[in-house]
């Protein structure tokens, strides 16, 4: 009851926030944070639910952004409406999710991470080098402005804010639906024991590809909105640090738990785009020449190390993670040994 009221109050606050706070910079910050929440929810499907460590997730963000920039701008004189592009961008990202997933199906753990990391590097490089289409390092600007029933979005962040909020709401619904479904259980089963999952009749190929595709589609959608709002895409927006940032959001919040992921994502966005620039501005206003934004990665590092030391399961972990870490803490050797056994055994012991 109390929890329900709390959620309702929070929902209401989220909905009316732009009416209360007329500072466009604040709404702009919240919109960007929202895009990252969407990214984190998508990555959570791949890493949290299915247990497939993906270090190149920014690639799908890039693919979503570039899809919009190429198909809804002066670039090729193609002007597909924003609302159509939302779905098209996520579909394109999903297809690339499958293309990336396909060659990695036999890999797990470290090996999977390295291959996805490679993919994360290849995609922005490709956009950089296909300069005849993408203007290379300059990127693509003057994208089409979205409009809603004939009214253009304009330069205010507020319309984008509402689009992102709606997408997050849908993403939360879909992700929690997935968790309690045949597919969600199949993902968990693969995460726990892939061989046993196969014996339950789980087609591990299609099940893993579904995770990659769905995760990528959330990211593609976020990319589309982000590009439209920024009115610019360039290859340097999608570097490795974006993949790491989103993964850190999961680690901080609690992998596999939707609420945890949202909280973790919001905290890191808040530090990254609000706290550090604001405190820099404050320092400079009192005559100190300090730029706190330069210490961003150091701060992330501190946070992650502190998390590993004090709360490795994340701020708001899923019930499963919590139990897993509790078990691992009791006997760290046991946990690591078991992991090895699972990874190095191609079949069963004869």
């Amino acid at each position: 009851m109390l929890k329900g009221l709390g959620i309702a109050a929070l929902g209401l606050l989220v909905l009316v926030y732009p009416l209360l706070d007329h500072n466009n910079a604040h709404v702009d910050f919240l919109t960007n944070a929202g895009a990252f929440i969407l990214l984190a929810l998508g990555l959570n499907i791949v890493v949290g639910f299915a247990g497939l460590l993906d270090l190149g997730y920014a690639a799908f963000f890039a693919i979503g952004s570039y899809s919009f920039a190429l198909l809804s701008s002066q670039q090729f004189e193609i002007h597909i409406p924003f609302w159509v592009m939302l779905f098209l961008a996520s579909a394109i990202a999903a297809i690339f999710g499958i293309l990336l997933g396909a060659p990695t199906l036999r890999l797990r753990g470290d090996y999977l991470a390295i291959v996805t990391l490679g993919f994360g590097e290849i995609v922005p490089q490709t956009f950089l080098n296909l300069s005849q289409w993408t203007n290379g390092p300059n990127g693509i600007s003057s994208l089409d402005q979205p409009s809603f029933f004939g009214r253009a979005f304009g330069f205010s962040a507020t319309p984008y804010y509402y689009v992102i909020i709606a997408l997050i709401a849908i993403a939360i619904l879909l992700a929690s639906n997935l968790q309690n479904s045949r597919l969600g259980r199949a993902w968990m089963a693969i995460r726990e024991d892939e061989l046993a999952a196969r014996h339950m009749g789980v087609n591990t190929t299609t099940t893993k590809l579904a995770a990659f595709a769905l995760g990528a589609s959330f990211s593609g959608m976020a990319g589309c909105v982000y590009a439209a709002k920024l009115d610019l895409v360039s290859p340097d927006q999608f570097q490795f640090n974006v993949s790491v940032l989103v993964l850190s959001m999961l680690v901080l919040g609690g992998m596999g738990n939707i609420v945890g992921v949202i909280v973790g994502s919001f905290i890191l966005s808040f530090i990254n785009s609000f706290l550090l620039p604001q405190s820099t501005a404050l320092a400079q206003s009192v005559g100190l020449h300090l730029d706190f934004t330069n210490y961003r990665f150091m701060l992330y590092g501190f946070i992650l190390v502190a998390m590993m030391l004090f709360r490795p399961e994340g701020l708001i972990p899923s019930r499963q993670r919590k139990a897993e870490f509790k078990e691992a803490m009791k006997d760290p050797h046991l946990a690591s040994q078991e992991q090895e056994e699972y990874e190095e055994r191609p079949g069963l012991t004869v």
Binding site: A189, A197, R198, H199, M200, G201, V202, L348, V350
Partner: protein
């Protein structure tokens, strides 16, 4: 048409022949066992049946259909389920979720129904949950439904694995050393459980080291040594077979 049949099945890992031209049949509705010393190739036979390995030669048939080389999930869908020698439950999923996952091959809900929780999906989910509870009751684990598989006592984990395998409505159930690590009381319960499973129409094929259990529960016994079938017959026949005694205990002195 025979229910289940292996014909000249051979599996070689490089130069090592783990299973050597093995042939036998299983009659539907029976309880049969395979025994043999360590390393005789028993688990390899299970892995060949469930598609973990592909036979180098020979044929495995279920109800007239050749199944060797099929993917594991397809073998399960055709009606063969198994448990594992070293328990392989989904450790951090509840007992109920473990059994529900076991039902995967009999569920129809696709990606979009899972995403949107359509009425059809909800209905199926409800039926599967009911069925999973029924199976937990069947193996006497209903009170453990919400506990993580990891937190169950060892004997319960063994039974949960059986319930999970039964969730796919198998025609043939493969039990890989189901009594391993059990105390006499648990073994007794296991024998009853295996019989109850057979009474529901499921054919049971087990690998076991516990001779007492094998002789007690199975109707036919196949003995494997160095990947070869050295004897097959009724438990009492097998027990008195010289080759079997030899395989287990070595050759009697002076007999050479």
């Amino acid at each position: 048409m025979t229910f289940f049949k292996l014909t000249d099945v051979r599996k070689a890992f490089g130069g090592l022949v783990a299973v050597n031209d093995l042939s036998f049949e299983i009659v539907p509705g029976s309880i049969v066992a395979m025994i043999g010393p360590n390393g005789a190739g028993k688990s390899t036979v299970f892995n060949l049946i469930t598609g973990i390995y592909t036979p180098t030669n020979g044929r495995i048939e279920l109800e007239g259909q050749t199944i060797n080389g099929l993917r594991t999930d397809k073998v399960t869908a055709l009606g063969i389920a198994r448990t594992f020698q070293n328990i392989r439950l989904f450790a951090f999923m509840s007992a109920l979720d473990n059994v529900m996952t076991g039902r995967h091959s009999r569920m129809h809900c696709q990606l979009f129904e899972s995403l949107l929780h359509t009425p059809r999906q909800r209905k199926e989910e409800k039926i599967v949950r009911e069925r999973a509870r029924e199976l937990l009751r069947f193996v006497d684990l209903e009170r453990d439904a919400d506990n993580y598989a990891r937190n169950l006592p060892y004997g319960h984990q063994r039974r949960l694995e059986i319930a999970r395998a039964l969730a796919s409505d198998p025609k043939l159930l493969l039990l890989d050393e189901p009594a391993a690590g059990m105390n006499p009381k648990e073994k007794e319960d296991l024998i009853k459980l295996i019989r109850r499973i057979r009474d529901t129409g499921v054919t049971v094929f087990l690998i076991e080291h516990d001779m007492n259990l094998v002789m007690n529960v199975s109707e036919r016994v196949t003995v494997l040594d160095h990947g070869e079938k050295i004897c097959e017959g009724l438990p009492v026949e097998v027990r008195n077979d010289e080759r079997v005694i030899e395989a287990y205990l070595g050759r009697a002195e002076g007999a050479a």
